[in-house]
Subunit: 121 residues, 2 copies
């Protein structure tokens, strides 16, 4: 698949991906994607990523049901980062919070817990 | 400086940083930070990053005047990514756009150009 915008997958074959909930405008997670993961995302309109630790492509929500339906994909100026603008089902974070960014650097919890991870994983 | 939340600077000494404009809720850029850059950010309430290409700490807006005043710093669940929630002066992108993420993967320009880079750099 050719994209209209050139992407820079770098030496490791990855772009960084920021996911933002279009309903709340919250930044919900940060992850990485290979070209194949971006292609799967475009083909299915569901967010796919690449796990560096498990060394595999994964679809967000395949296990938890907390999928991310793509509204739009944006590319940054130098083509090495993507912004997935998504409709987030349930919570993006494996800890049960809507966003992985649910704490401040001061340790204050500012995000909302939307599910019990023990019920899901 | 000790932070209340443990940060994971990894093998390369960096965390990934997403900057989000608190007024428009736009994701405006993605960059990296060393511990020193995060400390400078906390001390000055202005966003600091680390340039991997120039191998130096930099303050956003030091050249362009397009600074980022910090409202809040959030940390993701595994401590290797930060979200700088900022008041963005001018535009975040060196191309003159408010956000570096001003294009879709289809090549459509969806962001707003707020300055002429020839006037600034």
């Amino acid at each position: 698949m050719d994209f209209e915008v050139d992407l820079d997958f770098g030496d490791d074959g990855l772009v960084t991906v920021v996911a933002q909930d279009v309903e709340t405008e919250e930044v919900v997670m940060l992850a990485h994607a290979t070209r194949e993961a971006v292609e799967k995302t475009v083909e299915t309109d569901r967010a796919h990523y690449y796990s560096r630790s498990r060394e595999e492509l994964w679809e967000k929500g395949a296990t938890s049901g907390h999928t991310q339906e793509i509204e739009e994909i944006r590319v940054d100026c130098d083509g090495d980062a993507l912004l997935y603008r998504v409709h987030q089902s349930g919570g993006a974070c494996h800890t049960g919070y809507h966003s992985c960014f649910h704490r401040t650097l001061d340790g204050e919890v500012v995000g909302e817990q939307v599910f019990d991870p023990d019920d899901v994983y």
